[in-house]
Amino acid sequence: MYLTEIPEEAVWAIFASPLAALALNVAIVRRFPTWAGLLNVLAVGISFALSLWLLDTAADRDGVDIGFKSHELFTIGPMVVNVGATADGLTAVMLVVVTSVSLLVQIYSIGYMAGDDGYSRYFAFMALFTASMIGLVLADSLIIVYAFWELVGLCSFLLIGFWFQRPAAAAAAKKAFLVTRLGDLGFLAAILLIWSETGTFDINELFELALGGDIGTTALMLFMLGIFAGAVGKSAQFPLHVWLPDAMEGPTPVSALIHAATMVVAGVYLVARLFPIFQTDADVMAVVAGIGGFTAIFAATIAIVMTDLKRVLAYSTISQLGYMMLALGSGAYVAAIFHLFTHAFFKALLFLGSGSVNHATGTFDMREMGGLRRIMPITHITFLAGALSLAGIFPLAGFWSKDEVLGSAWDDNKIWFAAALITVGLTAFYTFRAFFMTFWGHYRGSTAEGSAGGHGHTPHLAESPLVMILPLAVLMVPALVAGGANLPGVGGLVDILEGSLPEGVEEHHLEFSWAIAAGSTAIALAGIVLAYALYGRGQVAARVPETLRPAQRVLENRYYLDRLYEDYIVGFLFYRVGGGLLEAFDRYVVDGAVNGVAWVAGQAGTWGRRAQSGQLQTYGAVAFAGLAVMFIAYVVAVSP
C-alpha cells in the first residue's frame, strides 16, 4: 500500500541480518560482551523493518506469492535440493510475528540477563534462533524447512540448557530435543515417502501434484500423518507435550520467545503451510482436530493445579496450541493463523511479565508471591491485559481469534466445539488463578535473602528496570488491539492469508455469530469469577472438596505421563531391559563366539600335542594309520 514491491535480496536480508549478528558475536563481540545485546537488537530490528515491508508487499498482492525462483544448493542424480524464499501472506504474517516478538524479547533480555556470565553466549544463541526461525518460515522446500526445523530445535536445546550446571536444566534440554525429534522422525519419513512418490521437495510443486491427484491417496495420507507427527512434537501436542513444561528451566525470555510465541507454533505453521494438501483428506483433518481439541482440554486441566507460574503459562501454551490445531483440523486456516498471531503477543507478554515478577521475587512459585500489584504496578497492569486477552474477554485480541476458532469448530463438528468451549472456561479460570495468586492478596515470600530460584536473584521487591518494562508496555498494545488485524466483516489478515492459498483450495470461511461470542465470553467470565472466589483474597491453596482430591493428585502429577515415559518406557523397558539384553548378547554371544573359536583352536593344539608324546613307535603307528586312511580314501574316491 505504501511501499514499492520488496526485492528478493531484501527478503533474504531478513534472514541474513540475525545470522550476521551471530557471526559478529562469535567472531568479535564475544570479547566485549556488553555489546552483544545491542547488536542483536539492531539486527532483529532490521529484520523486523524488512518484514513489515514484506507484509506490505504481500498485502498489495493479496498474499499471493511473489514467486522468487529457488536456487540450486546441490544435486545428486535425480535428487535436487533447492533453496528459495516464499514470499506470500502466510510467510509475511509469520515473519512479522517472529521478528516483532523477537525484537522485544531481545530488548527485554538486555535487562533480564544483565550480569550473567553467559551474556554473549545467550545472545549468540538468540540470534541463531531468530535466523533459523526466519529461515524456517521463508523456506519453500520441505527439506530446507526440515533443516531449519531441526536448527530451531537445536537452539531450543541450547537455550533451555543455558544454565547447564543445573541438572534440571540439562535434563530438560535433552528431553526437549529428543521428544521433538521423535516427532521429527515422522517428518523425515514423510519427506522420504513424498520424494520417492514425486521426486521433488518443492512445496508448491507438491501442491500442484497433490491437487492434481497425481499422488496416491494412501501415500498422501501417510505423508500428512508423518508431517503432523512432526508438528505434534514441535507444537507439544498430546502425547508429545511432555517436554514443554520442563523447558521452563530456560531463562524466561527464552520461554517467552521460543516456547510461547514462535518456535512452538512452528508445528501449527507447518500444517497451515501444507493446508492445501491436508484439506484434501477429511480423515486426517479429523485426526488433527481431535488431537488438537484433546490437547487443549488436557493441558488446561493440568494448568489448573500448577503452582509454578511459568508452568501454568507453559500448559496454557500447550492448550492454546491445541486450540490452533483444532482450528486447522476444522478447516479454519485463517482462524488458526489469526489465533497464532494474537496468542504470540499476549502469551509473550504474560511470560515476560512472569519474568519481571521473578526478577523481583527471585522465584516462580506462586505460593511465595501475592500482593505484588502494589510493588510492581506496571507489571501488574500489563499482566492483567495479557490475562484478559488470553481469557478471551471482549474486545481484546484473544477474544476475536478465539471466537473465530469457536465458530469454525461449531460449523465443523459439535464435539470440537464443545471441547473448545470447555477450554475457554478452564483457560479463564487458571489464568486468573495465577493472576490473583501472584498479584493480589498480600506478599507471602520471604523478603530476606533466600529462596534462590530464577537465576539466583535474591528478592529485592521493586519494579523491574526500564529495559524490561518497556517491552511489556509495547507488547501490551498488540495484546489488546491485535484483534483489529482481522475484525469480522472488516477483514485484514483473512485477505492476505487466503490469497496465499493456491487456486481452488477452499478454507472454511465463517460468519460472525453473536451467540457464540456471547456464550464464550460468559463462560470466560464465569471462570474468572470462580478464580476470584477461590483465590481472589490471597489464599494459597483453594479448599478442594474431598471428592476431588484424587483428581487433584492426578492432575498435579500431570496424569503420570512423564513418569510413564521416562521411568517406565524409556528408562526401564528400553534402556534396562532392551539395552541390557542386547549388551549381554553382544558381550557373551557375539564376542563370546569369537573368543570361543580362538579358545577351541588353542585347546585343539594343547590336546593335539599330547599325541606328540616323544614315543617313536606312536609316530610310526600314526604314520601307518595315515597310510591306511589315505589308501582307503583313495580307493573309495577313485572307484565310483
Binding site: 542424480g77 535425480p78 535428487m79 533443516a147 550446571q165 522422525l185 523425515l188 541390557g580 569369537v594
Partner: protein, 486 residues
Amino acid sequence: MLTFIVFSPLVGALLCLLVPRRREADTRWVALAGSLVTMGASIALLVLFDKDDGGFQFLERATWVNSEGAGFKLQYLLGIDGLSVALVALTALLTVVSVLVSFGITLRQREYFFWLLVLETGILGVFTSLDLILFFIFWEVELVPMYMLISIWGTGRREYSALKFVLYTIAGSSLMLAGFLILGFEAGTFDMTELRNIEITDAIVPLNVLFALLIAAFVVKLPVFPLHTWLPDAHTDAPTAVSVMLAGVLLKMGGYGILRICITIMPAQADDWALGLAVFGAINVIYGAILTLRQVDLKRLIAYSSVSHMGYVLIGAAALGEVGLMGASLQMVTHGLITGLLFVMVGLVYDRTHTRQIPEMSGLAVRMPFLATAMVFAGLASLGLPGLAGFVAEFTVFIGAFERFEAPTLLGVVGVLLAAAYILWMIQRVFFGPTSEKWADLDAPVQWWEGAPVLVLGALILVLGVYPTWLIEVMEQGVVPISERF
C-alpha cells in the same frame, strides 16, 4: 604424482627413525613435516583432479610381476577417480591431525611416528591401487603398524585388542585374497580398470559365493554385525591418534572396497545380495546405537557409534542407485571427519582428566569450555544436525535407499533419534551438571597443536554441511560410473 603421495609418508617414517636418540623429542616435527608434505600433495591432487572427464586419472602403470603363463600378471597400477581422491585427501588430512594430537607422546617417539606414517602409506595405497593384488598387498601393509601402535602405545588389554584386530583382518583378507585369485582367474586380469568393464558370468565357485569371498574382508573392516566386536576393543585400547585413523579412514577402506570392488565388478551378485546388505546395515544402525547408549567408557561409546554410523554406508551401498551410492560415499567422508573430531576430543579430555569413565565426569564444560564447545559441535554433527556434514550424507543415504528398501531405511531413520539420544546424554553427563570438585583445579590450557586440528575439522564439517556441492561434484565423477553398472 600418486607414487609420491603414497610413498612420501614412508620416507617421512624412515626419516623419523633417523632422528638421533638424544633429539628424540623432535621426532614429532619430522613426522609433522612429512605428513604435511603428503597433505599438500593430496590437496594439489584434489585441485588438479578433473571432475569433468570420466574414468581414472593420474594413472601410473608399471608391470611388476609379469608371468603371463601363470595367469599371474601383476601391475603396479595406481589411479584415482572422484571416490578415491576424496578419501586420499581425507587420509592425508587425518594423518596430520593424528600427528598433531600425538605431540604429547613421550614413549618411544621415533617408533611411534614411524609406524603412524607407515600406516598412512598402507591406507593411501589401498585407496589408490587399481590392481587387485596390489590392493591386497597394501591392505595387508596396514596390519603390522596397527598391531604395533595399539599394543605398544595402547592402554588396557591392548595386546588382546591388537591381536584381535589383526586376526580378524587377516581372516577376512585371506578370504578376500581367495576371491581375488578366483576372480582374476576367471577374468584373466587383476586390473580394475578392465574388470569394471567385464561381466563375470561364471567361476569355479558359485558366483554368489565368490561375491561373499570378495566382501568378507570389507564387512569385517566396516564393520558389520556380527563381525564388529574387534572395533570397540581396538578403539578403547588404542592411543588417540590411532583411534582417529582407525575410525577416520581404516573403516572407510571397508566401504571403499565394497563400492570399488564388490559392487563395481559383480553388479549382478550385488543386486542379489542388496536386500541382505541393507538389512544388515539397518541392524548395524540400531544395534550399534542401542549398545552405544549402554556404554560408560567415553571412547567405547564413540566406537560403538561408529558401528552404528557405518550401517548407513551399508544401507546406501545396498541401494545401488546413484543417490544411495553417493550417500554411502559422502557418509564415509563425513563420518571420517566427524568421528575423527570426536576421537580427538575424547583424547584431549582424557589427557586432562585421565579417566574415560563417564560416571566420574560431570560439569566439565566449566573447566574446559573450548573442548566442551567443540565436543558439542562434533556431537551435533554426529547426530545428523542439518547444516553440518553428517546430515547431508545421511539424508542422501535415506533418499537413495528408501525407494528400494522402505523398512530398513526407516529403521535407519530411527537410528537418527537414537544417535541424538546417546550423543546428548553423553554430553549431559560429561560436560553439564554441577562440576564435581575433583575437577575444581583442572585448567590445562589448550595447546595450539590441540586446537588447530579441532578448528580445521570443525570448519570442514560446517562447510560440507552448508555447501556440499564441491565435494559431491568431485565424488560423482567416481560414483556415477559405478551406478551405471546397474
